[in-house]
Amino acid sequence: MIEARGLRKQYGDFTAVDGIDFAIEPGEAFGFLGPNGAGKSTTMRMIAATSTRTSGDLQVLGFDPESHGPEIRAQLGIVPQADQLDEELRVIDNLVVYGRYFGLPLPYVKRRAEELLDFAQLTEKRKARVDGLSGGMKRRLTIARGLINSPKAMLLDEPTTGLDPQARHVLWDRLFRLKEEGTTLVLTTHYMDEAEQLCDRLVVVDKGAIVAEGSPSALIRQYSTREVLEVRFGSSRNAEAAERIEGIGSRIEVLPDRVLVYDDDGEAAMAAVHERGLQPITSLVRRSSLEDVFLRLTGRSLIE
């Protein structure tokens, strides 16, 4: 459905996307996971045919975005990172007017707009001004707007960045429903929990390149242990304590504020730490996450 080979994007001297390959199948939820500045948004814009590529091959819905931008955009739903809503129009008009940009008939667009308001749980805000909506509502309206042309694929750039936890869950619920209905979702995120929840398959990107690919669980199995022990000794003592922990678990990561011990059995690792006479201020055993995968692959955290 969407296929890239050696896709590159260069702005002057800066290489935003440095030769990436990926293939997105119909009906799947595909994620680009990486920190800010990894080239995720640029990739999305190239897929959406709103940005040109410097080199490489890109096929979107069977077209080359370079030559068939309007054809591709006609079949995509785009949810940009910053909600670009039309603040001069009311909530319902945002949907209707946007639908008309696609050349859809007015009576159809009007009916469809009401359905999508219902889907976005915004029916009560039908006549409201856009600038009065909460962040979560704006994002849901942007998603509803992206659905007005019944797209073959939805492109969501950082769909829940900047939202509070409750608003995120409402949004995830809506995206799950789309997924169940068979809509292809392509999303970027720097939240590992979001990637784990929503993505069937994802690529981990860093500095414009893909460093790993797979399903969230497969990536965790491949690049991390089942469990992780997090211990804190206070920022000045972490490094020293880490030396004494050496040998426990299969791998150790020292972060500025804590030490991570990778072991399939976190409780056993904790017991081993105590046996060496170390008394961490706090300790916690958790399951491995994509955050650990990213740390392993790049030596850095996702959110810096």
Binding site: A49, A74, Q75, G103, L104, N149, S150, K152
Partner: protein
Amino acid sequence: MTEQLLEAPAPTIRGPLRGLYAGNTRSVVARGLRVIARNNWLIVVTGFFEPVFYLLSMGIGLGALIGTVEFYGVDVPYAAYIAPALMAVSAMNGAVYDSTMNVFFKMNFAKLYQQMLSTSLGPLDVALGEILLALFRGLLYACGFMVVTSLMGLNLSWTAVLAIPAALVIAFGFASFGMAVTSYMKTFQHLDYVYFVMMPMFLLSATFFPIEVYPQGVQWVIQAMPLWHGVDMVRQLTTGLIQPSILLHLLYFAVMIVVGLWFTTARLKALFLR
């Protein structure tokens, strides 16, 4: 969701405009009209009064002192001499306000064109739609002004009715050029340059006195400016003293429209589809 869902129709434009134009300019115009209809009409009205005040103060006040001015060999009352010039100015004002201030805001703050260009619309649809809206405002000003001058008896010939389509042409030229220029602006201060150019053009383009008062070299400069062509064209129509040069004026604006449109389209593509 009971009914059949419609997919957006694929654009059918072929040839050199492929990818630039989807043939859906009307959706852009409809959006603009909806915004004007929903929000206050007052903003649209304010710019209309400036030339009316000039007409009242200079036409009636100064006109009493000046008497008549010669135009293509005929003596014309001063108020009737400046009225068509001010009508050309109001067409210009309407078009320029809309295609600079409003477009600048939509381009840089409201991100409206990014939104439009993430649909199947092409940059030419957006450019043409926005220019037509600016032109609409210029037309409104010109029509309002026409009513005022008619009531004051300043239209000397039946050909004055053609001043309305002429105003439309003027507004079209300024709107398409204005939007192209605006696409280069990065800060609000840059907008001041527009007024820095418009003010002298307004005062010097044979608006208040014949161009013959200048030395030949200055005349050429004035005649290179678009407003002079607009003023002379409308004045020929309202006085009924129509000259062959009106075709030249029309040609000038035709070129301005085409160049402005082409530039705006290219700039929108460069800014938002890069």
